[in-house]
Amino acid sequence: MSGACLRICTAASCRSRGAETLRQRCSALLESANSASATQGVAGRDVTVKGVGCLGPCSEGPLLAVDAAAGGSRLFSLGTNGQAGSAAVIEAAIKAVAADLHTAVADGDGSAVAQWSPPHSRELPADDPFLALQLRRVLAQCGRIDPAEIADALAAGAYRQLQAVLQRNDPAGVIELVRRSGLRGRGGAGYPTGLKWATVAAMPGGEKVVVCNADEGDPGAFMDRTVLEGDPHTLLEGMAIAAHAVGADRGFIYVRAEYPLAIERLRIAIAQAEQHGWLGTAIAGSDFSFHVELRVGAGAYVCGEETALIHSIEGRRGVPRPRPPYPAQRGVFGLPTLINNVETFANIPALLRLGPEAYAPGTKVFSLTGQVRRSGVLEVPMGTPLRTIVETMGGGAPAGRRIKAVQTGGPSGGCVPASALDTPVDYESLQALGTIMGSGGMVVLDDTTNMVDIAAFFMAFSREESCGKCIPCRSGTVQLEMLLRKLLSRQASELDLAQLERLCPVVSEASLCGLGQSAPRPVLSTLRHFRGDYLALLEPTPAAPPQEQNP
């Protein structure tokens, strides 16, 4: 690129703060300036504007990056930082930025724009821990490319790994690389990806299916949305490589309806990839064909469970069924089916580019939210201490407060007490603490939080999202929530607490699928680390503020 470039984050979060309007204004402005300069014969005003995916610290949005033609870029927050962004405030800010840019363009050429700082903005220095401590592989191109322009993605290297894979035409070799990398499913369960691929590849029969689980339902989790909105081609490339490896020629992406922008971006990306021959029949001149269909959900968290997801793709109630048979044996339409989540597939191109040894131990994308100073999406090396993420990168609790716990894994997960913040974030360490890595949602809870309220919140969620097929989940979640509400209204006795502790294992051991099996985990986890919060509610009069218990 010869000129300067303004990258404006137009992913859902910044978009809700007016970023798309900003992009349109700036775009129009530069277009007219460029055409004017062309007619006037003034050279060098080659400044481009593009809408890009997530730039990271969403709480600072709208975010805008300015790339100088000579290299180097600066990131600006136009954010009102926590202020209610009314339409009028947003509109005024956009006007001011556009007017100032207009002046900058009028005053000089691309290099002037490269020096430009938007008014009322705050530059986020490159050594800001939120940015500097990231290792962006899955999100390498997210925030850099225009996700609606395949040319941009191709220029950044999209589909090169697919091309190489097709040239080598060694499916077993690819599976072996994935196995050696140690990549595990990023959707929550952490099943070894290579093993899963090998199982599907070994299934007899000519017809197989690859499914991408983009039904990111955990509240407080938006890693997959970030990939879908910011760099859908990396996902499509990963899926195509997987399809080639396991011998599938048909793929589905099941995406939740709550992500309209992700759906739009996926539709565009699939169509463009087909036009450019990276999806469809005889891809890149090989005899490999792979047709991808988008399936949009209709509001059902349980469809993130793989057998429920299969039923939903088949146009049925999203009700889980017992396994075995596993989807690898009998999945969509009864065919052997590989199901991975968005982030897992999106890891594949980077994994192949780096090679399994250099890739390991991989990265994990997290969405950091809740009672934390800086929230957003970040990708860090697997095993980064939780403290680094929530305190160093996220800035810790808001002023005057202390972190009490970090909730991971959503309704299937648990709470890590502040005393255990030095825990490295990996599958085993979190499990040892009674929670799970989950898909990557990380909600910071400060010392104003009552953990019984958090447990009740998640139980209400599981109750609402229970499919209703098996009784322990359908009715057990109702009874568990009733017990928690009884506690919260200070009407519970020690007998009720005992009942709670008795019923939790029944629901987790007897439920049919992962939703019910893990629904009690937020209760068990908070009972383990914050029993004091429960005991304080048993007393008829308000006790001293609950203290965090040492595990």
């Binding site: 859902a12 969403c58 009314s86 509240p219 209709a298 793709i313 929230s375 959503g410």
Partner: protein, 146 residues
């Protein structure tokens, strides 16, 4: 007799009138008609050759399908985790006490739309309003077309 609901033909065709297209067809039907009425559901069942109870059972399983016409405006309070810890429950409770229905506004909730940095937030007619208070939402709702 002319085929009812000709506007559904494209999506039905795209899915080859196969039962596995049911949810896609329902999504499109609701997009076009605002809600899923019994005649519409009967039509879809006939086209896909599915039992009525299977169509109703499937449609009623998913939160986003609705069987009543929508109000003129829709205000969804996000009740995801981040919004919850930042006060969504109180926000929803406050709005529930307002006579929004009389003003053609339907109040509901949604379990996380994944833009948690704006918590607590509401979605009004598809637009996200960040960092809301009950007073702020009510202010904003007042400016909607009656």
């Amino acid at each position: 007799m002319p085929e009812p609901y000709p506007e559904l033909q494209p999506v039905l065709q795209r899915h080859g009138y196969r039962p596995d297209g049911l949810i896609e067809v329902l999504n499109r039907a609701q997009e076009l008609h605002g809600h899923l009425s019994p005649p519409l559901l009967r039509h879809i069942a006939r086209q896909l050759k599915l039992p009525l109870s299977r169509v109703q059972g499937t449609a009623s399983f998913y939160h986003l399908f609705r069987f009543q016409p929508p109000a003129r405006h829709c205000c969804l309070v996000c009740t995801g985790t981040a919004c919850h810890v930042l006060g969504a429950a109180a926000l929803l409770a406050a709005l529930e006490h307002e006579p929004l229905q009389e003003r053609g506004i339907e109040l509901g909730s949604v379990r996380c739309i994944g833009t948690c940095s704006g918590a607590p937030l509401v979605v009004v007619d598809g637009q996200v309003w960040n960092h809301q208070s009950a007073a702020g939402v009510l202010d904003g709702l007042r400016s909607l077309d009656p």
